[in-house]
């Protein structure tokens, strides 16, 4: 069972913040805790945390803040943040789902720790209200809880600077992957602890940029720990030297096959009897002509035909559809446009199709029956043969 946090809605939160803006730190501290509010909690989950948990947390965090200058001059704030992150994370046994609720962090901040939050940011005054309501990136305590959660118990948060943490945590595509984030931090710390600490803030920023650029084209989930560490070392090297990521070397690895992977027969020519019956081949040829007509018909009606559009009308697989379309290109009946995922086929000399609206048009003529192959395997053999010829 996970714990639930009371939630303070946005309206009450903003009232608390506005009220506190005109008060001194001592006056705000005297208001804590604020209990005369209406709170809610998640409809599903564990039990709401009792007040004692919040009282204990407040006492612990105020004591920690005093070590760093509270209520006076602030000192060694990164160390305060690092220690506070562990306190908040360990004190609340809440799930990431619960910790994603803005109103929960608004309640903690505005009803229990508003004086500490105000001190942490040099007073409330006209300061950023997101520090005090439960904003995802700016709330004083929410951002600390998430640092501890994402980086895990084995990374010493005190070794990282504020800017370095922001470089990681405010890149959601990086911070969403705990393994990637932890590997990045470990490789970064190993590097700076080895004495290469000149411009470490810039190093992390540059590494973060390079990493983000790779995320659409590299699936980091596919890498094992060794591969992940190696790639992050390369990224940090490139960031340190101001170079692009070096080209990957050609690698031959032992190619294991996972359990459950099976080869699927697709009736290749070599796996079939040397000659199919003449009638079957003639029938397949007729069906192939039908398919050609269907494909050309789609191109005429909608301006283009794609693999998936053809398969909407004819129950054939993507490979067969591709061969049909390629067959028409070979004949000169269609011209291929675009590439890879954007591949489509048009009638020869047709202008390029602009926009995607045509793709949503009905591709089958009104009342046209779906095309059903009578001898699909034979047809596939014929398609293979046709391509070979």
């Amino acid at each position: 069972m996970t714990a639930l946090l009371p939630r303070l809605d946005r309206e009450q939160t903003l009232l608390q913040i506005e009220h506190a803006r005109s008060l001194t730190l001592e006056e705000i501290a005297a208001l804590m805790p604020v209990t005369e509010v209406k709170t809610t909690s998640s409809p599903l989950g564990g039990m709401e945390l009792p007040e004692e948990v919040f009282s204990t947390l407040r006492a612990t965090i105020v004591a920690l803040a005093r070590e760093h200058g509270y209520p006076g001059e602030r000192a060694r704030l990164p160390l305060f943040d690092a220690a506070c992150a562990r306190l908040v994370h360990d004190q609340f046994q809440i799930s990431p789902n619960e910790a994603s609720e803005e109103d929960a962090w608004s309640h903690i901040t505005c009803c229990w720790l508003l004086d500490v939050a105000a001190w942490r940011w040099g007073g409330m005054g006209k300061g950023d209200e997101r520090r005090f309501r439960g904003d995802v990136n700016r709330n004083t305590f929410r951002r600390l809880w998430w640092r501890a959660e994402i980086l895990g118990p084995d990374i010493d948060l005190m070794l990282l600077g504020e800017d370095e943490l922001v470089s990681i945590m405010e890149r959601p595509i990086v911070a969403s992957n705990r393994a990637l984030t932890r590997s990045l931090v470990n490789q970064f710390l190993a590097r700076v602890q080895d004495g290469d600490d000149g411009g470490r803030m810039v190093l992390m920023r540059e590494a973060g940029k390079r990493l983000v650029r790779l995320t659409p084209i590299i699936d980091f989930h596919a890498l094992d720990q060794t591969e992940l560490d190696s790639m992050l070392r390369d990224i940090l090297d490139a960031a340190a030297n101001g170079d692009p990521l070096p080209a990957a070397a050609s690698v031959v690895k032992s190619a294991q096959i996972s359990e459950g992977v099976e080869r699927v027969a697709r009736a290749p020519v070599l796996d079939t009897p040397p000659e199919a019956p003449r009638e079957a081949l003639e029938s397949a040829a007729a069906e192939l002509e039908d398919l050609f007509e269907v494909a050309i018909g789609i191109a005429r009606r909608t301006g283009r035909v794609t693999n998936s559009a053809l398969r909407e009308v004819a129950p054939i697989d993507p490979v067969a559809a591709r061969r049909v379309l390629q067959g028409l290109v070979d004949r000169g009946s269609l011209a291929r446009r675009g590439q890879a995922k954007g591949t489509y086929y048009v009638l020869p000399n047709a202008p390029a199709v602009a926009g995607e609206d045509r793709a949503s048009q009905s591709i089958a003529p009104p009342g046209a029956p779906a095309w059903v192959p009578a001898a699909e395997k034979t047809l596939r053999r014929f398609l293979s043969r046709y391509r070979k010829d």
Partner: protein, 296 residues
């Protein structure tokens, strides 16, 4: 506007991969919404992926020693912003057409809001002689498909918690459920003011309230709980002087407003004062009418 990714290597066409529909462990296809999801239930889904590795090699100009894998990952971009992946399925250096099952488990506590289920074909090894424009890096994405699934749905829910009654002094250890609320404070918000506690040591009750329960009596148990909870709420509401005098005076989303709407739904057109009289004079009839409305 987001700039589309522009890989600097050859990609195969979309048709080289044919992915089946995502299915739950019972083989039921999942749609774009999972209703009645809760953060204590892991979502486990799988699909079959068929890859034409000959075409992949040809179109990416890779040799027969190039190795590939497929894997599925999840990410919740709107709530927890967390993500992870299922086990990587290595296709090795196989050629021809291969089919592989991919599975991913989305932990309930880490998710919420919306989950993006992404399936990818990736390069594991480029082999000895890839062309200069072939994909080379381990993990290079060759094909991808993402399905968005809304978790939680939009249905309103009654606040509910499973808890060991042995840890709560005010509740008998062996009770099956308990409506935890202060019936004097009807202006409290529903989410926070009232909660149905279910005894987590009573496995049959816990199992029955799960949407995917296979207990044939689950529907009956749920109806009984629903009816009992409604009866307790109605009786307490009609005992509350303030509520009987001004049933419409409670703010939106408050317990009082919920009770007012409950009475109007079960006994449309009957004034609350009249219902109170019925509760005093004919309590059994009142209960039976409630049953008729909720179980009928």
């Amino acid at each position: 506007m987001r700039t589309p990714a522009a890989p600097t290597y050859l990609l195969p066409s979309d048709e080289v991969v044919d992915a089946g529909r995502w299915k739950d462990p019972d083989g039921v296809e999942i749609g774009d919404t999972i209703n009645h999801w809760d953060p204590f239930t892991d979502l486990r889904v799988s699909r079959a992926v068929t890859v034409d590795l000959d075409a992949v090699r040809t179109e990416c100009r890779l040799g027969p020693d190039a190795a590939f894998a497929v894997l599925a990952s999840w990410r919740c971009p709107t709530r927890t912003r967390l993500g992870a992946a299922g086990e990587r399925v290595d296709l090795g250096c196989t050629d021809g057409l291969v089919r592989a099952p991919v599975t991913v488990q989305v932990p309930g506590p880490d998710s919420g809001g919306r989950v993006d289920l992404t399936t990818r074909l990736v390069l594991l090894s480029a082999g000895a002689e890839p062309s200069p424009i072939s994909p080379r890096r381990t993990g290079a994405v060759l094909w991808t498909h993402t399905q968005r699934v809304a978790l939680e749905g939009s249905a309103a829910r009654f606040p509910m918690t499973a808890v060991d009654f042995g840890t709560i002094a005010r509740v008998p250890d062996g009770a099956a459920w308990y409506v935890d609320w202060d019936h004097e404070d009807l202006s409290a918000p529903v989410l926070g003011g009232v909660r149905l506690l279910l005894n987590s040591t009573n496995l049959r009750i816990i199992g029955a309230v799960r949407t995917a329960s296979d207990d044939p009596a689950a529907a009956l148990i749920r109806s009984l709980i629903e009816c009992d909870v409604a009866r307790q709420l109605v009786r307490a509401a009609l005992d509350n002087e303030q509520f009987v005098q001004t049933p419409e005076a409670f703010p939106d989303d408050s317990v009082g407003r919920m009770l007012s709407e409950l009475l109007a739904m079960v006994w449309p057109g009957i004034p609350v004062a009249g219902l109170r009289a019925r509760a005093l004079n004919e309590p059994a009839r009142l209960d039976a009418e409630l049953q008729e409305r909720l179980l009928g």
